[in-house]
Each structure stands twice: as C-alpha cells, then as structure tokens.
C-alpha cells in the first residue's frame, strides 16, 4: 500500500505540474462556457438560461474528455520512461495503471469542482436544490472516463492513438448528445439519434438534478458508471502487459 501511495502521489503531482492539462480543465473550459453562453444568449428567454445550459453540457464534455488526462498520465513520452522503473520495481503491475487512473480521476474531479465553484455564483447557475447530488453524481462519471482512457492505453499502448480515438469518440457522442446545440429541435429522426448518445443520457440526468430537482436518473447513472468503471478496470487488468512499456 505504501508503494501504491508513493506512485499515486507522483502521478498526481505530475498532472498538477502540467500547465496544458490544468489550463484545459479550468481556463479553457471556463472560456468555452462563457463564449458559448454569450453567443447563444439570444436564443433563450433569459441569458442566464444559456449559461445554465452550457455550464452543464460543457462540464459533461470536460468530464468525458478526462479520458485523455488518463492517457496523458499513463503514456505521455516524458512520463513513460520513468514509469519503466516502476515496472522493474517490486511494486507489481496493478499500481502502474490503477494509480494513473485514480490520479486522473482526482485531478479532473477537483478541477471541475473548482470550475463550478467559480462559475456557478458568477453566472447564476444552479446545481439543483441540493447541489450535493449533482456533485456526487459527477464522481462516478469522472472515474468511468478516467477508466476509459486507461483502458484505451492498455489496448493501444500509445498515447497518440489513444488520444486521437478518444477525441473522436467523445466529440461524436457530445455533438449527438446536444453538448453544443440541442438536436431535439431538428426533427424526430435527429432527436432519436441524439438519444443514442451516452452524452445525452448524462445531460438529461444532470439537467434533471439541476433544473427539475428530480433524482429519477441519479441511481441509473450512478450504477451504470460504476459497472462500466469496474468492467474497464477489469479490461485494464487483462490487457496491460509490462512489455508494452519496453
């Protein structure tokens, strides 16, 4: 356990020392919400509704993109080489990928909470009558995204390939899920396609908590994300081979 904590601490430190990742999860995300909210404020009855919409959808976009934090933490060139020493050490192979997964989760989750702490009062965005449920539900989804990134790394053994594939998958899901503009107004066919996207399910669950104070989708999302995370961690265990690092 001591060895795991040593590795985890190092992985987390490396992430927080990466200005690109910190900026992407905070400044870039905040700017994107502000710009999208400002540009589309005319489409809503009140401008704060636009900010409400984009804070939730772009937060989910950020959470899903957290998969790429994991791939960076796992196989980025400058980190991959010293990680080789962990493979040689008596720490075993499990801490190698699981500490990266956990560090990515903690990193993304804490930065997204910081983002909400700043933007919610500033833009009058609500997270529901009890914001704790909103914040709690973010955790399993953040974890599942980190697990997805780690799993892709274990399968493809390369940061570039993993990031490219994840970027395509996440962006397609988010565009279909209505992250940037809702597809529901484009006809029944578009609305049906939109419903196939996991981003849409997440948007619906988080909007239900934030705007309708409804917890009907809380448990399904919580259980779904937990099961997916467990399967992805199991997949990491099956696909991770130390020789991919050599």
């Amino acid at each position: 356990m001591r060895r795991f904590l040593v590795i985890f601490k190092m992985d987390l430190t490396n992430l927080f020392k990466n200005p690109v990742l910190v900026g992407y999860n905070t400044l870039f995300a905040a700017l994107l919400i502000l710009i999208m909210g400002f540009l589309s404020s005319g489409n809503y009855a009140q401008s704060k509704d636009a900010y409400q919409y984009y804070t939730v959808t772009l937060l989910i976009y950020g959470i899903l993109n957290g998969a790429m934090t994991a791939s960076n933490c796992f196989m980025e060139r400058d980190i991959k080489r010293p990680n080789l020493r962990i493979i040689y050490s008596p720490a075993g192979s499990f801490p190698i990928y699981f500490s990266k997964l956990l560090a990515s989760f903690v990193f993304d989750y804490s930065l997204h909470l910081l983002l909400l702490a700043v933007l919610c009062p500033l833009l009058h965005v609500t997270l529901g009558a009890n914001s704790l449920f909103f914040i709690l539900l973010m955790a399993p989804v953040e974890f599942a995204a980190a697990a997805l990134g780690t799993f892709f790394c274990c399968v493809f053994h390369c940061e570039e390939t993993t990031s490219m594939l994840l970027s395509i998958v996440v962006n397609v899901f988010c565009i279909l899920g209505g992250t940037f503009f809702s597809l529901d107004g484009l006809g029944s066919a578009a609305a049906f396609i939109s419903k196939l996207s996991p981003a849409k399910w997440l948007n619906d669950a988080f909007f239900a908590l934030a705007c309708d104070n409804s917890r009907g989708l809380f448990l399904p999302v919580l259980i779904g994300a937990t099961v997916i995370s467990a399967l992805l961690v199991l997949g990491c265990r099956l696909f991770f081979r130390t020789e991919d690092y050599l």
Binding site: I7, R81, P82, L84, R85, I86, I87, Y88, P90, E243
Partner: protein, 312 residues
C-alpha cells in the same frame, strides 16, 4: 565464486523472428559479467527477460537456486536496473527522483534519506541535488540514471548499455562507479558494444550474436584462443586493384578483408610476412598510407568468431 543465477535454454521469438535461440549461462556473486555483442544480437532482450519485464518463450531463470517466478517480488527487490534510455522525471530534482525510485523498494524515513545522500555522492551530484534533471548534461543524467538503480543497495545490478552517447569523462566516471560496486560485493551484469569498456571492468565475458552465445570466458581466456594471431590494418590511397583472396598467397595469412580503403589481415604470429604483404600491394600498384599491427584483442576474437567487426 558462489553461483547467483542460472539461466537455462532461454528462448524468445516475435512471430517468425527468433531473437533468442536457447541461451544458457551462469552469473556468479561479486563478478562483473559483460554481455558483448553488436546491435540486434539479443542483449537487450536477454536483459528485459532477466528483469522479469518481458516474458520468454521457453527456458528457466533461477536466482539463488530457485525459479524467479516463485518469489518474484523478492527477486525484484534484489535487483537494480539501469535501462538503456535515461529514465528520470526531467521536471523533478535529482534528489526527488532518487527519493521516489528508492521508495519504490520500500525505503522510507531515515533509511531513505541516508540512501539518497549516498546515491548522490556515488553519482557525484551532491552539489546539484536540488537542480531539475532537465538542466543536467547528458553525462550527469546517465550518472543519476545509475544512482537511481543502486540507491536501495541491490545485490544484483543490471545495466543495459549505460554509457551510450556520453563524453569520455562521464564514461570513465561510470566505469569507476562500476568498479566501486564490484569492490563492494555487488554483482553486475553489463551489456555493451564497446570493447574498451569490457577490457576495463569485466570479470567474465559473454559474446552474443544473432540470439546465441558464441563465446564465454574471461578476457584472458578469450584472447588466448587467438594468441597465435596478429592483425595488420593497412590504409591505402584507393582500392580496386587487389582482391582479398590474393593475400592468401602470402605465407601465414589466415584471413583478409577489404572495406573501402582499409585492408584488415589476420596472420599467424610467428611468421614474419609484412614485407611480402607490402610487396604484393606495391606490385598491384596500390599506394600505402598507413600500417598498424595489433596483437590479440577482443575485437579480433569477435572478428574471428563472426567474420565481422563488432560495430559493422
């Protein structure tokens, strides 16, 4: 010397490509075992399998008489590994790198601080301990790369070409460090394709080529196998007038090789035939620029065994 490791019939293939063809050797406590061979000989694959980072397709590795798989964690605890590439966190200081890597081997508290201090002195980096690795020269990084592998005082240190691409001063520092490790009772397995390093540090040598061990012994015993030979290296203005076979007409010539404007001839040691070789070249109209003569060397051993130079 006590037997520390037994490697038996180790095999590794990547699809059709047989990288290791069933190699067997022993490692004895306190020795510096040099594995010598050209690029692609199978040295790094052997090292990766010995470190348990890569699986083999057959064979056994025993450490202190027991298969390493039985007590893998204890085996890894006993190892210190210096990878071929510098494997350090560039954004961290030398001290923090050492602390992190040493703590992976269970060191903590006072024990860790002491190990880190000793490793910094060992690498000659005590005064730069708080500087980030990215500010270090290539040689300093290489030294720290070694220090990270020995900080936890391993019984066996495995080094995979640790001196590639560094200045002579750092190379000498590293070679001296290896001698210090050996004198302190640490066993070292060292791969390289630099003959001169092997001459300086080796207790025993294994020569590998094309995934097989082609010779094994001390440098003295290996040289003894060609003790009755000497080598002439002749540089000529231009080549095109003489073929290697023509040198066999001279008494005592055992082999001849022409590479551009350089001719390498191996000859029996007792036969004085240099004047006849020069005469042959002059008769063919070749203009000689330089001639050097060399007695038995590891380079000659390799040439004899494989028919090519180590760094061809």
């Amino acid at each position: 010397m006590e037997n520390l490791m037994n490697i038996k019939n180790l095999k590794k293939s990547y699809k059709e490509n047989e990288v290791l063809k069933g190699i067997s050797f022993e490692v004895y406590t306190g020795e510096v075992l040099c594995i010598l061979g050209p690029n692609g000989a199978g040295k790094t694959t052997t090292i990766n399998i010995l470190t348990a980072a890569l699986g083999s397709n057959g064979g056994e590795i025993e450490y202190k008489g027991k298969p390493i798989g039985l007590k893998l964690r204890a085996y890894k605890q006993a190892l210190g590994i210096v990878p071929q590439d510098v494997s350090l966190y560039e954004e961290l200081s030398a001290e923090r790198n050492l602390r992190f890597f040493a703590s992976l081997y269970g060191l903590h508290g006072k024990e860790l601080r002491k190990a880190v201090d000793e490793a910094l002195v060992f690498a000659g980096l005590d005064e730069r301990r708080r500087d980030k690795v990215k500010t270090f020269s290539g040689g300093m990084k290489r030294r720290l790369n070694i220090a990270c592998a020995v900080a936890h005082h391993p019984e066996l240190v495995i080094m995979d070409e640790p001196t590639v691409g560094i200045d002579p001063q750092s190379r000498n520092y590293i070679l001296d460090s290896i001698k210090k490790l050996r004198d302190g009772g640490t066993t070292v397995i060292y791969t390289t394709h630099y003959m001169e390093e092997v001459e300086v540090i080796s207790s025993r040598i294994i020569i590998m080529d094309h995934g097989s061990i082609i010779a094994e012994g001390t440098k003295e015993s290996l040289k003894e196998s060609i003790a009755n030979e000497k080598k002439y290296t002749i540089e000529i203005e231009e080549n095109g007038k003489i073929a290697p076979d023509e040198f066999f007409s001279v008494e005592g010539v055992r082999s001849a090789k022409i590479d551009g404007d350089t001719i390498e001839i191996t000859s029996l040691k007792g036969v004085e035939n240099l004047d006849r070789i020069i005469a042959l070249l002059c008769n063919k109209g070749e203009r000689i620029r330089n001639i050097t003569s060399e007695n038995a060397s590891l380079e000659m051993v390799f040439l004899k065994l494989t028919g090519r130079k180590l760094r061809d």
